[in-house]
Each structure stands twice: as C-alpha cells, then as structure tokens.
Symmetry: C2
Subunit: 316 residues, 2 copies
Amino acid sequence: MHISLTETAAALKAVQRIVITAHVNPDGDAIGSSLGLMHALKALGKEVQVFIDDDIPAAFSVLPGYELIGKPAEGQSIPADLLVAVDVSLDRIGKVAEAVKAPTLNIDHHITNDDQADKLYLDGTAAATAEIIYQLIEELDVPCTQDMAMCLYTGIALDTGWFRFSNTKPRTMQVAAALLSCGAQPHVISEALEQRPLSEVQSLAFALQKIEILADGKVAGICLDNADLQEHEAPEGLIGMVRVIEGVDIAFTLKEKEPGLCRVSLRSKGIDVTKIALQFGGGGHVRAAGCSIEKNCAEARNDLIKAILQVVEAES
Amino acid sequence: MHISLTETAAALKAVQRIVITAHVNPDGDAIGSSLGLMHALKALGKEVQVFIDDDIPAAFSVLPGYELIGKPAEGQSIPADLLVAVDVSLDRIGKVAEAVKAPTLNIDHHITNDDQADKLYLDGTAAATAEIIYQLIEELDVPCTQDMAMCLYTGIALDTGWFRFSNTKPRTMQVAAALLSCGAQPHVISEALEQRPLSEVQSLAFALQKIEILADGKVAGICLDNADLQEHEAPEGLIGMVRVIEGVDIAFTLKEKEPGLCRVSLRSKGIDVTKIALQFGGGGHVRAAGCSIEKNCAEARNDLIKAILQVVEAES
C-alpha cells in the first residue's frame, strides 16, 4: 500500500524496535540510506538494528555505524516491531525476510519496486533513496548530524555517479548542499571509497587488455573468468573505464565470481539496460543495471551478448 | 586593486567591447568561466570575444560557444575597452597580454593571484571561478540561460572533482543546484568530457604498468618520456588512477610532451603540493598543482622527485 512521507514518519514514530535492511550486494545508497536512517531513529530514542544479508565492502567503514551492520545467521530470529527495507523490493533482502517476522515498511526510489510491503513510500523522482531519507529526517524533525550527513551524502553521490548522471536534479543538489552544511565531508568519503591497493590498479591494467568491442563499436565489455579472478582481483569501477570509450552506448562487465556464477553490470548512455538485466532476473535503472547468470563465463557471455545485441537491434 | 562583486559588475556594465581570456593550458574552469561570462555579457548587449592563447581540447565542444574561442595570432592587435582575465593571474595569459591593450579586470579564486590587474575581484573561498561568475551573473541581473549553466556547471564540476574535493562547500552545491534549474545537463557534460578513444584506454593500461612507488608508499607517480608518448597517446586522468592507491599522499605524473619539455601534474591528500609546483614556476591549489620543467624526462624526473621528497620529509 502506497503511503505519504508524513505517514512514513508516523509509522516509524509509532514503534520502538526497528530493523532496517537493504538489498543483497549492497551499494552506497543501500548502505548509506540504512545507516543514515539508523542514526536518525536512534536520535528519536528507538532501538534500531541494521541487518543486510551480505558482506559489506570494507571501504564503507568510512561511514559512521558501519561496524553495527549485522548479517543474519541461518535460522536466526530477530525480534522487531517493524522491518524497514530501504532502496529495495522485499524479494531482494535475502535471509532478513525469514529472520524478521514483523510488519514491513518499504522506502525506495526504484520505479521497478514490486509493491509487496505492508506500506510503501516510493519516490521515483528521487535520485537516491538517501535523498528520500534526508526528507524523512526533516519530516521526523530530527536535527541532521554529521553522522547522518556522511551516510546520506554517500548514498546520493554514488547513485548519481558523483552528480554526473541525468538523475541529478536541483533537489538532489539542494539536499547535498544541506548535507554539507550538516558536516558531510565529500573528500573523506571519496578518498575512502576510491582507495584501492596497488595490486588492484595493476589488475586494472590487466583487465583493460581484455576489452571486447561489438555491434560496430556500440557495445563494449570485459569478461573475466574465474581463473582470471583468481589471479587478478577484479578491479572496482572497471565498467566506468569501458563506458567512456567513444561510440559505446552499452558497456558491460561479466565476472565469474565463483565457478558457474557470473555477476553482470550494465551501463548505458541511452538504451534502457533494465531490458537486458530483467531477462536474467536482475534489475536497476535505465542507465545502470545488473544481474547474475548461473553459468560459466563462456556460456554466460554468449547469453548476455545475445540479449544485448537483441536490445541494441530493437533500438536502432 | 581589489574590488567588490558589485564594483566588478559595474566595471563590466560601463564598457562595450570586452575581451575575455584565461590561462594557457586551460582547464574546465578556465573555459567554462570564460564562455559562461561571454554568454552573460552578450545577453547584456556587449560585444564580447574570448581569446585564449592555447588549443582548446575538443571534448569542450560540448560547451555552447566553444567554436567562438579565438587564439591570438603573432602580432595581432585586438581592440577592446576592457580585458577580463578569469581564473588566472595576468602573467599566464600568454600572447593575449600583448594583443589586447586595454584596462584589465581580473576575476579569480586562486589565493596565489599576483594582484597585477587594474582591478581584481578575488574570492579564495569559491571552489571555482565559475562559482564566482554565477554570482556575478546574478549581480548583473542577467537571467541565467542553459548556455551559461552548461558552461558554469562544467567549471564547478571539474574544479571540485565532481563535488568530491574538500573545496566543495554548501554554497558550491547551491550554485550547482541553481545551474541545474537553469538547464545544466550534467550527464551531457560528463559524457562528453569523459569520452576517450579505445586507443587511449589501451594506452592507460600501458601507462599503469609504469607506476613507481617512493617514500615508503607515500608518493606514487608515472613518468612517460617523449618516446612513450609518441607510441601511446598520454591518457587523460591518469593521475587520478595514481592518486587512489592506498597509502599514497602525493601522486604525480610527468609527461615529456616535447623533447626537453616536461609537464608535471601533482595531487595530494594533505600535503600542500603548491610548495613543489612553485619551485618550478608553476602553481595551483593545495591538493592539485602543476608546473613545467624544461629538461628531458630523466633529468626532470630527478629534479621533481628530489623536490617531492624534500617536501614529504619536511611534513613528516
């Protein structure tokens, strides 16, 4: 059931024990929104826990509260009055769904949200869920602290590609300006999130030699099989390097994280890449989507490229 | 002579024929500020020309008015009532200084400005000169158009590393929000400025193999001699790849653009790199500076590394 921002604030005020969760394979917006909301609800005197059913990349330890994020154990039961799922549909919260048997409140900006929660606040015009959380904090009348600001600025910055993507709206920037006033330190965030070991920079050089160009240069991608990834740690942000090649509309990376399990990232400059990701049970945004394919690298590559070329052909 | 923003606006309103210039080796802020101001002054009915004594990278053709930027010819004389130098001290405008014999108005945000212009509006708290130009446009009471907004957003985005650097202040973001409202399209700007040929991505892989690590990992850099650069075009943004290596405080690149002429870029996470750049007649900001060294690659490398290590030692 869709509710308003005011009703969302009221639903949070009405309960005491709150568990916050987000999607598996969490990104900056999922983590930043979860922690930003946690700090705000704690300031209201609530008992708040964040559980995400995945490992949280260590780079996010720059975010205040990082160390408080739990991962549900098999069969664990977590008592709560309310389960708040941010930046996600309920079907992508993993084991948290079984661990927390409580009414559900869903806060999201993905227009693909499945509307399965008891209550849903969806704002598809927000660049990031963190942008919504800031408005919610204002609605809750909680003073925005530096801890909240650091978390929420991170969510907005990462979901807008640092204010580059077309989802960057005046309101996005106004919220970011307010977060700076509350003490967000973009250079601290960016330096922490962009740090990479020398070995990873060197593995980037390796990966860049594997770029493949398809569809007359409209599509470019890099496939790394499990053997490659055993030898060279997969560099973060690799897809960004592919995306900037002149003439490329769709960029992809395919990484065989485990033998027979490939994670795919898709970026575009125009074509709706959710059309590709949805075919493999994934999701995302028009210009940034992802999915997993349970096949080995060569087979997954074939399936993915076929799907990409079909979409490219349909668009041209 | 230092003047106020209001006096700057009055000085512009008082004249008819205006030449705008910026520094040689112009960056996004120099180009964006020049063009943004040009559009605003044209809207006021002024006769405005932009002259920069350098080639303007083709990527900036995304900026409205790019094609109007002139380069002064040897011995050319350009009539004007006022020469406006933006984002620069007067000593770095090249041949424009001889070509335009007119009173000078200088608008800048570099605290290293040499204060040699007839009139100087300096705001060292501004993240970019483009941020000042936006305030000037408001002061001039010119409605901000999409053309102006595209140019000024570019200047701000590039001088703040897309809202990452510590110079990103609430006012910076508020100006950026206003520019979005005026029609700035960050995705168009970023996609244009970040495009690179496949060959350049491949040359990046080459360059990354040349990373050298110094001072127990506090310093990292890449030197490309003229032979390297003949074979592999120097990739833009290379220094950004060095800067993110864990533990590195000072990152540098040294490119022997012509035999015996090296261009140096310096970035830091804390140490003031102008202390290094100034030793070689360059300049910049605490965290981003540059200079040229008129020696071959090996000699310039020795001089540069000596200067860097001295500064690192003095700081530790």
